[in-house]
């Protein structure tokens, strides 16, 4: 029997006037999964993650996080999750330590514990060597690391990350990845959206793809490959590319979403 899902949605829908941003999404993320949520621009990823973290009310549908109904108990859910939203949610005129200590206390830690964890996190993230620097003066990569540190300071069971690797250099990305993998090893569940499919392929055990507000695929990479195979004409390959290699996530994504590159369109004025 499957364990109770950490994240589950039923018929999750969000309308903005006549625009159906998210249309009847049924998600199921099992405990301990590193779950990648993919989709082209404007597919509904950010809207979905905002609904899952209690930042945006759904038009209809049900969300359960760790078995708790988000609509009925939003504060209880927020206490158990960590979020790195798109804009990182940082307070620019605090130092890194001040911000982390603040974040810890907002999540219910006592002052001493918050300070201890803040110091440890800053050290782990290699942000401890400039204690007086304000967050506003941090580089983009440093801000991403700090945002992640703030999201995990209370030891959440579920972590939601919206584009955590966007604009992050290889060194900072390495630090982030090692922390996330450590969390997965300790049993946490991570739900992330990213446009960098190579990273998702390397990190995530399971993936869902949303397109025009609808969930078009969900499962492990192997399950996705099998799904693509089932939809392709017989004898054209077992989830493999023309060269016989296994399809990469990018290839799978393009086949599922049906992305066609407009290579023939001319922009003659470009140099």
């Amino acid at each position: 029997m499957d364990p109770a899902p950490t994240i589950s949605t039923q018929g999750l829908t969000r309308r903005f006037g006549e625009l159906m941003a998210v249309d009847g999404v049924d998600l199921r993320v099992a405990p301990g999964q590193f779950f990648g949520f993919l989709g082209p621009n404007g597919a509904g990823k950010s809207t979905t993650i905002k609904m899952l973290t209690g930042l945006l009310a759904p038009s209809s549908g049900r969300i359960e996080i760790l078995g708790i109904d988000l609509n009925a108990h939003p504060v209880e859910v927020k206490r158990q999750i960590g979020v790195v939203p798109e804009g990182m949610a940082l307070f620019g005129r605090l130092t890194g330590a001040e911000f982390l200590s603040f974040a810890g206390r907002m999540y219910g830690l006592d002052r001493t514990t918050a300070a201890q964890r803040a110091a440890e996190l800053l050290d782990f993230m290699q942000l401890a060597d400039q204690p007086k620097k304000l967050v506003t003066d941090y580089s983009h990569g440093m801000q991403k690391k700090l945002a992640l540190a703030a999201a995990v300071i209370h030891g959440p069971k579920v972590l939601f990350l919206d584009e955590p690797f966007e604009g992050v250099d290889a060194i900072a990305a390495g630090t982030l990845k090692s922390m996330l993998q450590g969390m997965i090893a300790r049993g946490a569940t991570i739900f992330l959206t990213s446009h960098v499919l190579e990273i998702v392929e390397r990190l995530c055990s399971h993936v869902a793809i949303i397109h025009q507000g609808r969930l078009v695929a969900q499962g492990s990479l192997e399950e996705l490959r099998a799904g693509v195979e089932a939809q392709t004409p017989a004898g054209s390959g077992n989830g493999t590319s023309a060269s016989g290699e296994k399809l990469t996530l990018e290839q799978l994504f393009l086949r599922i979403v049906g992305g066609e590159r407009r290579t023939e369109q001319e922009l003659s004025w470009l140099g």
Partner: protein, 554 residues
């Protein structure tokens, strides 16, 4: 495309951008409210402008037709003071969008300066100052039509000087307040200036007791000094030409132009630095390994939960690092000094305010409440994208607002205490009954302000940068609403004190205020209780304004 054409194209694109932003803003209800508020505020300013225009026209006509042009400084000095002081005193009405955002485009330095000056020209202080100058131009021209071209030239130079000076003051204040060290130097200078004002009282008393010669000598010195300052120079340029002293008049205009150039070069220093991408961050130099950060335990606030204490600490730290905001907060003390020199001067007992010096403390306390408006009525403005954190955290909004309001209350208490000390030094120790009545008044006024402020902070916010000065795009709805609340508070306060004085019993005011406080405090609590974390928070104006993303976004 030639560079001139290119520049013109850029400037028209920026003008169109402002227009499109305005028109697109009208799509939302909040935008329409904003337009309505702007119309009301503009109408109020227009009335003020009409008044100053009429007075300036009438008096300048009178001075010229009676051949008393040496009195023209009496018109130009108030305009000068208003132009320079009003934007600093009432930053809420200052409407100078941050032109620095345009620097990402290939803008020439000249275009950048022009945009900065154009934004400054549309500031209410500039508009009203210009209307006053137009009044003088018309008055002088009616009095003696032959003076029109010369007066036009002189007043245009004077207007340009004022415009450039206002931008220079903003730019340099921002520079000095941006970093801890320069801020500390500014703080010390401010305290020294305040202390030096202590000498004014004894000096005035000495002058008052002695016969007039010394006083008239001082007046002579002041007259001579003002004559070489911009308003005096402008007035002199017109007066001298009216007396056919062409060379002297021309020299005065030349001096005025030279001063405008000197101030302009100071502005150039600042704008050039901004144009080149100056970073006034407070980043410390990379420390040695030994300096690596230790554990920093947060503040404890007995009786309050961890989140409330954390928000309080965060707000105080923000304020402490926000020089421009701190400057605004010390304004009540500055105003006490100004009043000490002006209407509440003991040398002028005939003045209405001068007859009631015991009202200095309530007045200063009311002003302390007024300067909090920027903070209380837009309390998420400085948080920018950090607002998301509040929505994502497992904390009810009432706790967040409580933390913020505690900070506001602390600032109010500190400011009121400072005002009490300043009043004691500058005037006389406020009577016990006055002091208690004032505190009771604040007990009523503060919760009322906080209630309205919390609602407007959520429903009509504007993102603002605490590090900039006079370059904020404020919400006119908030300005108007906060003004309405302040007018009600001041009217009730003035009525209470007037009745109490009528019956010669200030305790009447205390009781009146306590009764009002008994109403306003429960109102505050009930509104606070209603502020729970909104489930549709990403759609609230607060989110949209501060995070910068508006829905629908998918």
């Amino acid at each position: 495309m030639t560079s001139a054409l290119h520049r013109r194209s850029q400037l028209s694109a920026i003008a169109e951008l402002r227009w499109r932003m305005f028109v697109n803003g009208l799509r939302s209800k909040r935008g329409k409210m904003e337009l309505l508020s702007r119309i009301i505020v503009t109408a109020a300013f227009a009335l003020g402008g009409l008044g100053s225009f009429t007075v300036a026209t009438g008096l300048s006509w009178f001075f010229v037709s009676q051949d008393k042009t040496e009195l023209l400084p009496l018109l130009l000095w108030p305009i000068f003071f208003f132009w320079q002081v009003f934007p600093v005193m009432a930053t809420a009405f200052t409407n100078n969008p941050d032109s620095g955002e345009l620097l990402r485009f290939p803008l020439t330095y000249r275009s950048y300066v022009l945009i900065r000056l154009a934004y400054g020209f549309f500031d209410p202080a500039s508009a009203l100052g210009s209307v006053g100058l137009l009044g003088i131009l018309l008055g002088v021209s009616f009095g003696r039509p032959s003076l029109f071209p010369w007066t036009l030239l002189v007043l245009s130079t004077f207007a340009l000087f004022n415009l450039v000076l206002m931008q220079t003051v903003f730019a340099w204040l921002e520079r000095w307040l941006a970093q801890r060290r320069t801020r500390e130097i500014m703080g010390v200078l401010f305290i020294l200036v305040m202390l030096s004002f202590q000498l004014i009282g004894p000096m005035m008393e000495r002058v008052g007791r002695k016969p007039h010669p010394e006083f008239s000598r001082a007046t002579q010195i002041v007259t001579q000094v003002q004559a070489v300052l911009p308003p005096g120079l402008a007035a002199d340029a017109i007066a001298q030409i009216s007396h056919a002293h062409i060379l002297v008049g021309f020299t005065s205009l030349l001096f005025l132009g030279a001063l405008a150039l000197a101030v302009g070069s100071l502005l150039h220093l600042r704008l050039r630095a901004q144009f080149r991408g100056e970073n006034l961050s407070e980043a410390a130099a990379r420390p040695s390994v030994a300096q690596v950060q230790g554990m920093q335990v947060g503040w404890n606030l007995p009786g309050f939960s961890q989140p409330v204490a954390a928000v309080f600490e965060k707000e105080v730290r923000y304020l402490a690092r926000s020089g421009p905001m701190l400057l605004t907060l010390v304004m009540p003390i500055f105003m006490l000094v100004i009043f000490r020199l002006g209407p509440m001067n003991p040398m002028r007992p005939s003045n209405a305010i001068g007859r009631t010096p015991d009202m200095a403390f309530p007045g200063a306390a009311a002003y302390a409440l007024l300067v909090l408006t920027n903070l209380v009525f837009n309390s998420f403005g400085g948080d920018a994208a950090g607002v998301q954190f509040f929505y994502a955290s497992p904390v009810h909004f009432r706790q967040i607002m409580l933390g913020k309001n505690l900070t506001h209350a602390s600032v109010l208490v500190a400011n009121t205490a400072l005002a009490w000390i300043a009043v004691s030094y500058l005037y006389a120790t406020p009577h016990l009954a006055v002091s208690i009545a004032t505190v009771a008044g604040l007990l009523f006024a503060a919760p009322l302000n906080f209630t309205a402020g919390n609602l407007l902070s959520i429903y009509s916010p504007r993102k603002r940068d605490f590090a900039t000065f006079g370059r904020q795009n404020v919400s006119q709805t908030t300005v108007l609403a906060s003004l309405g609340v302040q007018i009600v508070i001041v009217a009730l306060g003035a009525a209470a004190f007037a009745i109490a004085r009528l019956y010669r019993n200030l305790w009447i005011a205390t009781i009146f205020f306590l009764v009002l406080a008994a109403i306003s405090i429960p109102i505050y609590w009930s509104f606070s209780a209603a502020l729970t974390a909104s489930r549709s928070s990403a759609e609230t104006p607060c989110w949209r304004s501060c995070v910068g993303r508006s829905y629908p976004k998918v």
